[in-house]
Every structure is written in structure tokens, then in C-alpha cells.
């Protein structure tokens, strides 16, 4: 009951003053298609996707299993290339990028949050958060300051020295969020971020993400099966059989 209440409260709390700026398009997908080869057959996964996502938006991506949600998220994150169409993020046409260009681009532009947190078990929370910063030119002192700020933002400043095995699922996901945020990326991509958490913890994480969107103006795209999680987003996109069916 209390979970439900938290969810309703969070959904209602999206303030009008934080409306996404019109015409500040961060992500633009034009006629995006993705097919995979299965033997000699070409299997379409995404067909003719046309979407624009404004900077500062929080978009939930929903649909049944196999509808292409994760494939679309992977394209947005530069983890895969579309088979056809134009994909522009922050002014860069990433569908034309080579694999190594995409690798560098990811480091500078995207923060990932995964369902199973994907923390490095042999690194402490602060070292996990520091990972993306190792790809920058920041000094050790600057990196430490950024890590401390990110952990503080997710409420885990006192758990910096703890290893993932010493943290709860919710705390691990908070560390993962801190890792995604620490390099101040343009886009946060979340793949079922609450899929492995109980309801109460899931609500806490969703509330945190909502806070990041509203107060830090982070642009978030979140894949989810859970309609209550999607309620935290500003917009919801529905995919079915690789096609966008409604916004």
C-alpha cells in the first residue's frame, strides 16, 4: 500500500515549471530500422522508427518481450548500429560512426544503468564510480571530488569504501546510478533499472531518477515492463513487434 502511495506521489510531483524546453532536441531517430541475420534469413527487430527526444526529457520505453525495446536502447547508447535510418544524438550522427568512434562517443555522452547493476565485484563503490572518469583527462584529485559528489547525490557517501558484495540491491543500483552520472553525460540510458529490486527499493530508485531528471535536468530513457515505473517518466513510448505504436 505504501509503495503505491509513493508511486502516486512521485508521479504527481512532476512540476509544471520543469517542462522540457521545446525545440531543444537531444535525440533524433529518422526511419531507423534494425534487422538481424538468423541463418540466411533477415529478421526485422525495429522498423521505421521516428522519434525525437527533447533535452531534459524522461522517456519510458515499454512493450512486450521481443518488441525491440532493448535493441532501441542499444542503438541510442551506441552499442549497436542501425541497419537503416538516421540517428542523431547531441548533434552528432552516430549511425555513421565506426566501432572505435562509438566507444569514445559512449564514454563522453552516455551513462548506462543496468537491471543487474553490472558493478565490478573486485572494486569498491568509489572505484566503480570512478571507472568512467579514468577515460577522461581529470587528475586523481579531480576524479575523487567528482566521485564524492556523485555518491553524495545518490545518498551513498558513507558507503564509498564498501564492495558490491557488502551492499544491498538498492545500494548497488545507486552506485550504478552514480557511475552513470559521474562523467555528466548527455543521456542516461536505463535498462529495466528496477527489474531486480523489491517494490519499495524500486520506488526509491525511481524517485531518485525522477529527481535527477527534474533537479539535474538529466535526459533519461528507461526501458521497463512495469507501468508503475513508467508513470515516473514524462513520456512513454510503446513498441510492439519493432514498431512504435503510440506516444
Amino acid at each position: 500500500m505504501s509503495n503505491s502511495a509513493t508511486l502516486e506521489k512521485s508521479a504527481k510531483e512532476v512540476p509544471a515549471s520543469n517542462e522540457v524546453l521545446a525545440n531543444d532536441v537531444l535525440v533524433s531517430l529518422t526511419n531507423i530500422s534494425k534487422t538481424y541475420k538468423k541463418g540466411k534469413e533477415l529478421v526485422p527487430v525495429l522498423t521505421d522508427i521516428n522519434v525525437k527526444i527533447q533535452r531534459g526529457d524522461f522517456v519510458a520505453l515499454m512493450g512486450p518481450s521481443g518488441s525491440g525495446k532493448t535493441t532501441l536502447l542499444n542503438l541510442l547508447g551506441g552499442l549497436d548500429n542501425p541497419s537503416a535510418g538516421e540517428l542523431i544524438i547531441a548533434g552528432q550522427r552516430i549511425d555513421k560512426f565506426s566501432s572505435s568512434q562509438l566507444t569514445k562517443w559512449r564514454a563522453q555522452n552516455v551513462g548506462f544503468i543496468f537491471q543487474f547493476y553490472n558493478l565490478m565485484p573486485v572494486l569498491s563503490a568509489e572505484k566503480n564510480v570512478e571507472l568512467p572518469l579514468l577515460l577522461t583527462n581529470l587528475t586523481s584529485k579531480e576524479r575523487k571530488a567528482h566521485v564524492a559528489a556523485a555518491l553524495d547525490l545518490v545518498g551513498l557517501a558513507d558507503r564509498a569504501k564498501h564492495y558490491p558484495s557488502e551492499l544491498s540491491g538498492g545500494q548497488e543500483q545507486r552506485v550504478a546510478i552514480a557511475r552513470a552520472l559521474v562523467s555528466d553525460p548527455n543521456l542516461l540510458l536505463c535498462d529495466e533499472p528496477t527489474g531486480d529490486l523489491d517494490r519499495a527499493t524500486a520506488d526509491e530508485i525511481l524517485a531518485l531518477m525522477q529527481e535527477l531528471n527534474q533537479e539535474q535536468q538529466k535526459t533519461i530513457v528507461m526501458v521497463t515492463h512495469d507501468p508503475r515505473a513508467a508513470d515516473h517518466a514524462r513520456h512513454t513510448l510503446h513498441l510492439d513487434k519493432g514498431k512504435l505504436i503510440q506516444e
Binding site: T103, A107, N118, M120, V122, L131
Partner: protein, 398 residues
């Protein structure tokens, strides 16, 4: 950019290495495989090194060996008494007062049983002149006394005494119809002579009906630079009919067939074992990549490059191989270094007693060999790690 790659390699390698305890089973198989290969590799080569060392320790750069022209070894050489006397007219041979430092010697092979197997083995019995001791640099009687000229007395090398029966000082031993008394034991810097038995040349000539003939002359030069003059003098006068060689060069020639034989057995054996170890390392590293699929994919998603991921996998393989190589080297050192064996020297058809020698150069070779196994074993798994499909691997539940 380079710094960036280096820091990426460093952090990923550190994570890989910290992960090893979680994969201790497969990692220890790889380490054990490499340790075995390096251990056997070093053991076999330490045999060749020990043999070479024994042969080379016997030689002095100031000493020449003079044999019949065309003779390839002491066994096939023969010199008349006159030839040995003409040597005194040759230039460059050192003198001790009025006495030339040259020793005419003869050499026969006798049967003695080995302590380890009680099977008979050929042992060199050398008849020498009194100057023989001054010609050899490192000769020293360490037990008993020298033989007396004109008596059936023997002095025996330390290695020979250690390896063969009935050579204790004070004991008697019979070769053919002649009984010999062992009166002393000598060292010669660990060289070939320590595998031999020595006696008075005249007595040996009589015992083996050699008349007044010899097989070689060993002579000490004033300095190595006079060798050319000596050779020229010998070549200028056909009555000599001898070849002059530096003792070191001669012994190097003599050791070559055995060294080649040991290497010929050792290298293929080591390579065959290495193939097994490489498969062990490949299996370990594929397991390593497989158990870290999601970690690798996460790093790649965060922006870590394919090359640092591949290189760090290779680095882990090299570290495991290095640990295996170090263990193999240490075990080989403690098991084999100084281990005494005897083998037939093809050139003299007699036993050479030598110690296995695990030298720093051999350990270095062993570590390089281990690194090669680690490199080959890690290469394909590293390529797999670099080519991991990130999007799919991120959902790996392993």
C-alpha cells in the same frame, strides 16, 4: 591517448588479477601446466649445460693438445716417443726451470661398475708424465697422495670416485690382469679430468703393451699469442706430422655431439609438453573471458577500448605463465642443480661424470619459454574478449 590506453590496461588488468581467486581451479591448471613444461625444459637443458661446463672447465686457454695429424680425438691419435721428444724444439712452450711444461700421455678405457646401477661402464684411465700436474691449472690432490712412478698406483678424480665402485682411497681394483691400488683423489676445477683415473704413463704402456708410444701431448704455452708461431713451426717441418689445437677448442669439439644430442631430445620434448600447456592456458583464459563476459561488456559500454580489454586478457595469461615459469624454475633448481650423473662421451667412448647446472641463463630461457606459452595461450581468448558483442554480453547472467 597512449596514457589513456595505459591507464585502461592497468585498471582492467588489476581487475582481472583480483578476479583470479574466483577462478582458482582453472588458473592453477594453467600455472601447473606451465610449471611442468618449464621444469622439464630447464632440467633437460641443465643437463646439456652441466655437460658443457664440465668439458669447458677442463680446458685452459694457455694449454695446447698435440695429436697425430688428422686425428679427431685422443682415441684415434698416436704419437711415437721420438715425436714427443721433438716437441722440445718447438717455440712458445713454457718451462719450469729447465723442464718443459709438456706431458706426453696415453689413454685407455677400463670397465668399472657404476654405484647407482652396478652395471659396467667405460672409464678413462690416463697415463701421464710428471709435468702433467703443472700443465693443468686447477689440479689438486685433495685426499691421499700422488702415485709413485714405476708403481701400479692410481689417483682418481672426485667425480669418478663419487660415481663408480671400488675407487675409495686405499682400495684395490683390477683391470685385466693388472691390479691397481688407489692412493689418492684429485680435483681439477670440476672439469673432465675429474671423471678419469690417472697413473704413471710408463706403467700404463707396459700394462697395455703400448711399447713406447703415446697418444697426445699437453703443453702449456707462454701465452695464447704464441699459438700461431707454434702451428707455423709444426707445419713447416713434415717430421712432426701433428695437429696443434688449443685445449679449449678441442674440448668444445668433443662436447658438441653430446650437447647436440641432449638438445635434440630436450627441445622437441619441451615443445611437445608446451603444446599441452598452451591448450591449458587457452582453456583457462577462455574460462576467464567467459566468467567475466558481463564485466568486459560493461567496461566496453562505459567506453573502455577493445585493445585495452584484449591486452589485459593477454597480460593475465602472461602473469599466470610467469608464475608457472617461476615455480617450474625453482623446482628444477632444487631438484636438479648439482645432481651428478655420468654419460658416455661419444668422442672418447668413456664416461663423463657431470653435474646438472641450472644457471641464471637457463632460468631466463625458461621464463621466456613460459612467456611464449602465456602469449600464445592468451592470444585467442584476448581476441574473443575484444570482439565480444557488447549489447548481447551485457545481458549475460554468468
Amino acid at each position: 591517448m597512449t596514457f589513456n590506453w595505459l591507464s585502461q590496461i592497468f585498471i582492467i588488468s588489476l581487475m582481472n588479477l583480483r578476479n583470479i581467486p574466483q577462478r582458482w581451479g582453472t588458473s592453477s591448471v594453467a600455472i601447473f601446466g606451465v610449471a611442468c613444461v618449464v621444469g622439464v625444459f630447464i632440467a633437460v637443458l641443465s643437463m646439456a649445460t652441466g655437460f658443457q661446463r664440465t668439458m669447458s672447465n677442463a680446458g685452459s686457454p694457455n694449454t695446447v693438445i698435440i695429436m697425430r695429424a688428422g686425428a679427431t680425438s685422443e682415441m684415434s691419435s698416436g704419437l711415437s716417443y721420438e715425436q714427443t721428444q721433438w716437441i722440445s724444439s718447438l717455440p712458445g712452450i713454457e718451462k719450469n726451470g729447465e723442464q718443459l711444461l709438456s706431458s706426453a700421455e696415453l689413454f685407455v678405457v677400463v670397465d668399472i661398475s657404476k654405484k647407482t646401477t652396478n652395471t659396467s661402464a667405460n672409464v678413462s684411465l690416463r697415463g701421464v708424465m710428471p709435468a702433467a700436474f703443472a700443465v693443468r691449472d686447477k689440479f689438486n690432490i685433495v685426499e691421499g697422495r700422488n702415485f709413485e712412478p714405476g708403481k701400479n698406483e692410481l689417483i682418481v678424480g672426485r667425480s669418478a670416485q663419487k660415481q663408480f665402485n671400488n675407487l675409495a682411497v686405499g682400495s684395490s681394483i683390477k683391470f685385466g690382469q693388472t691390479e691397481w691400488r688407489v692412493v689418492g683423489m684429485f680435483e681439477s676445477g670440476g672439469g673432465l679430468a675429474e671423471s678419469e683415473l690417472w697413473c704413471d704413463a710408463k706403467i700404463l704402456q707396459a700394462a697395455y703393451r703400448r711399447g713406447n708410444s703415446f697418444q697426445t701431448i699437453r703443453a702449456k704455452l707462454i701465452s695464447p699469442s704464441v699459438l700461431a708461431d707454434l702451428k707455423a713451426a709444426v707445419a713447416a717441418d713434415p717430421k712432426f706430422n701433428v695437429d696443434v689445437k688449443l685445449e679449449t677448442a678441442y674440448l668444445s669439439e668433443q662436447s658438441a655431439p653430446m650437447t647436440k644430442f641432449i638438445m635434440g631430445v630436450g627441445y622437441p620434448l619441451a615443445i611437445l609438453m608446451a603444446l599441452g600447456a598452451i591448450f591449458g592456458a587457452i582453456n583457462t583464459m577462455y574460462t576467464s573471458v567467459s566468467t567475466r563476459t558481463r564485466e568486459i561488456a560493461t567496461l566496453r559500454a562505459l567506453g573502455f577500448g577493445a585493445f585495452p580489454v584484449a591486452f589485459s586478457t593477454l597480460f593475465e595469461s602472461l602473469v599466470l605463465a610467469f608464475v608457472g615459469g617461476a615455480i617450474g624454475s625453482v623446482v628444477a633448481y632444487f631438484l636438479f642443480n648439482g645432481y651428478t650423473v655420468s654419460t658416455l662421451n661419444f668422442a672418447s667412448f668413456s664416461q663423463v661424470v657431470f653435474d646438472f647446472a641450472v644457471t641464471p641463463a637457463l632460468v631466463k630461457q625458461g621464463v621466456i619459454f613460459a612467456a611464449a606459452i602465456g602469449f600464445i595461450g592468451g592470444l585467442f581468448p584476448a581476441i574473443r574478449a575484444a570482439r565480444l558483442p557488447v549489447a548481447t554480453a551485457l545481458r549475460d547472467n554468468g
